[in-house]
């Protein structure tokens, strides 16, 4: 028997669902759906990455590659080989997970900076393949003609339709992740993040869990990537270079490491920020950088936990 969530989490989740359903009713233009959809895609990658970084304490700068593999494999299978999407996405996700396993086994023996370098190297290799393997990937000019998703007979060809799909996928993965971190596995992961030596002395198979959660995070990225491919229907290698890897890690850090809700906030804020900064025109990169620095200086534990702390402090003063 599967009970999807512990009772204490239902409240948060119902709130989340209501918000997801209400937001479309109040949005003034369809342009905002595009942003919300990108937020959800980023949030899925960030969700997996947060399990890896925030819980198991392993940093990866290679997740754009998994995002890209998910997108390209499903894109190529459908656009070039005429596969149906209900087959191409699972194959893309599973293949990426296997790549994650093959990359994870040797690299997760490394620690700290070395792991960061190794995953970064992997990202660069994948980027080069996407650019150079012209015949298969379309090279630097990208891969076009990827079909839209189809649910039964409804083609998901608008921002609004995709919105419901992608937020539903995010919701399901979010529930699974909440369950995971709230279990013995979640505790074991946190133990590994804090003190791997002590964890192994307690009988926790440290290597296996590190690789396992790395594969899970790669899988989440591949899910997001394949959805992305069938959403925009045109993909090019630039989207999946290591700058995107840095971006998602930044979302994890800015939102607040080690809390799934904070990761969601991080994804939302950093996806919207460049859009908001359109008002400062050519200074937007400068201001973007300044905002990031300010967050990390004033809220080193992340935006959401930081604000929560400030709030509690204020509440405390009111009571006094």
């Amino acid at each position: 028997m599967i009970k999807l969530l512990s009772s204490s989490k239902w409240k948060q989740l119902i709130l989340f669902t209501v918000a997801v359903l209400l937001i479309p009713q109040i949005l003034p233009s369809d342009y905002y759906f595009l942003i919300l959809n990108i937020i959800a895609l980023n949030a899925i990658v960030v969700l997996g990455l947060n399990l890896l970084i925030g819980f198991a304490g392993q940093i990866s700068l290679g997740h754009a590659a998994f995002y890209g593999l998910g997108a390209y494999i499903s894109g190529i299978l459908t656009a070039s080989y005429g596969w149906p999407i209900f087959l191409s996405i699972p194959v893309a996700v599973l293949t990426t997970a296997i790549v994650g396993l093959l990359v994870g086994i040797p690299t997760l023996k490394l620690e700290g900076h070395y792991l960061v370098m190794a995953t970064l190297g992997f990202n660069i290799i994948v980027s080069i393949i996407l650019v150079q393997w012209d015949a298969m990937t379309g090279g630097p000019s990208g891969l076009a003609g990827i079909p839209y998703l189809k649910a039964f007979s409804i083609s998901i060809d608008s921002d609004r339709k995709f919105y419901y799909l992608v937020w539903a996928v995010l919701g399901v993965l979010f529930c699974l992740s909440l369950n995971l971190i709230d279990s013995r596995v979640g505790r074991a992961l946190r133990a590994i993040g804090e003190d791997p030596i002590s964890a192994s002395a307690l009988g926790i198979p440290v290597e296996r869990y590190k690789v396992g959660i790395f594969v899970v995070s790669a899988l989440y990225a591949a899910v997001a990537g394949s959805l992305y491919a069938h959403y925009v229907t045109f993909i090019s290698p630039k989207t999946f270079d290591f700058f995107y890897s840095i971006e998602v890690v930044t979302m994890v850090v800015v939102g607040g490491i080690g809390s799934l809700w904070s990761g969601l906030a991080g994804a939302a804020i950093l996806t919207m920020l460049p859009e908001i900064l359109e008002i400062v025109k050519e200074y937007n990169v400068l201001v973007y950088g300044a905002v990031l620095m300010a967050v990390l200086v004033f809220f080193p534990e992340g935006l959401l936990p930081g604000i929560k702390k400030l709030w509690q402090k204020r509440q405390g003063q009111v009571h006094e």
Binding site: S177, V185, E194, S200, V206
Partner: protein, 260 residues
């Protein structure tokens, strides 16, 4: 069965670079005994612990536990076989609560995969409940049940030591290795620790102890091994050790060779 050796070291050696930390060491730990290892700093005591628990592989010799050779086993497999340890410098998970630390100790007997955990199956929840109950029992045993929900890093030092022992007990060990459990404790806490260790032994546990506190060691140990520069220089009952001239020389730095 009282006198069965559950842990055997035979000619075990380990060196780091040019330094021989342990040389040709052999000893046995008998079931339901409190076996102590003493010796000056750098005598190789912690290295022995690290070899028994799989953090270092011995360069030579053999370590067997309950008939299984464990020389090259990884630490998590050794924990599963029934050896638990504490660390000289506490190695708790400070941001996890006191209860969570102990629950982690239960992990090895109640493993769980990532997929099952994500789906929150009924069986997962049932085990979780059992684990929680067992962890609370252990906290009660070490006297920390009132602090179950505190972050473990905020406990006073002496209690953290107790918690680390509790966490080790949660793995259901046959053999418990305690690395200087009394260091940093005040005399009263040390007395309580001694009582706790004796109680564990009377409950059927075997204990291997590295300790600098001589009065505690002499009080509770059945047998003591004395190490110096990686070698075993003496072993015997506390009384024999106290009167052994070689031991006295090692501790007081006398040159016993001068009399030869």
């Amino acid at each position: 069965m009282e006198n069965k050796a559950i842990l055997k070291l035979k000619d075990v050696s380990k060196s780091f670079g040019g330094i021989q930390a342990v040389k040709g060491l052999s000893f046995e730990v008998y079931s339901r005994n409190i076996q102590a290892i003493i010796g000056p700093n750098g005598a190789g005591k912690t290295t022995i612990f690290n070899m028994i628990t799989g953090f270092y592989a011995p360069d030579a010799g053999e370590i067997t536990f309950l008939g299984t050779t464990i020389n090259k086993m990884p630490p998590n497999d050794i924990a599963e076989l029934g050896i638990a340890r504490t660390f000289q410098n506490l190695e708790l998970f400070p941001s996890l609560t006191v209860l969570e630390n102990v629950m982690l100790g239960c992990y090895v007997r109640n493993k769980l995969g990532i997929i099952k955990a994500s789906l929150r199956l009924k069986s997962v929840q049932d085990t979780e409940k059992k684990v929680r109950e067992k962890a609370l029992e252990i906290l009660e045993f070490v006297g920390l049940e009132k602090y179950a929900d505190e972050p473990s890093g905020e406990l006073p030092f002496g209690w953290q030591r107790l918690l680390e022992i509790g966490r080790a007990l949660a793995t259901d060990p046959r053999l418990l290795l305690l690395d200087e459990p009394a260091s940093g404790l005040n005399p009263r806490e040390t007395d309580q620790l001694g009582e706790l260790i004796e109680k564990l032994r009377s409950d059927g546990l075997t204990i291997l102890l590295v300790e600098h506190d001589m009065s505690l060691t002499m009080d509770i140990s059945d047998n003591i091994i004395v190490m110096d520069y990686g070698r075993k220089i003496a072993s015997g009952s506390p009384r024999q050790i106290q009167n052994d001239p070689v031991v006295i020389a090692a501790y007081l730095g006398e040159d016993i060779d001068a009399s030869d």
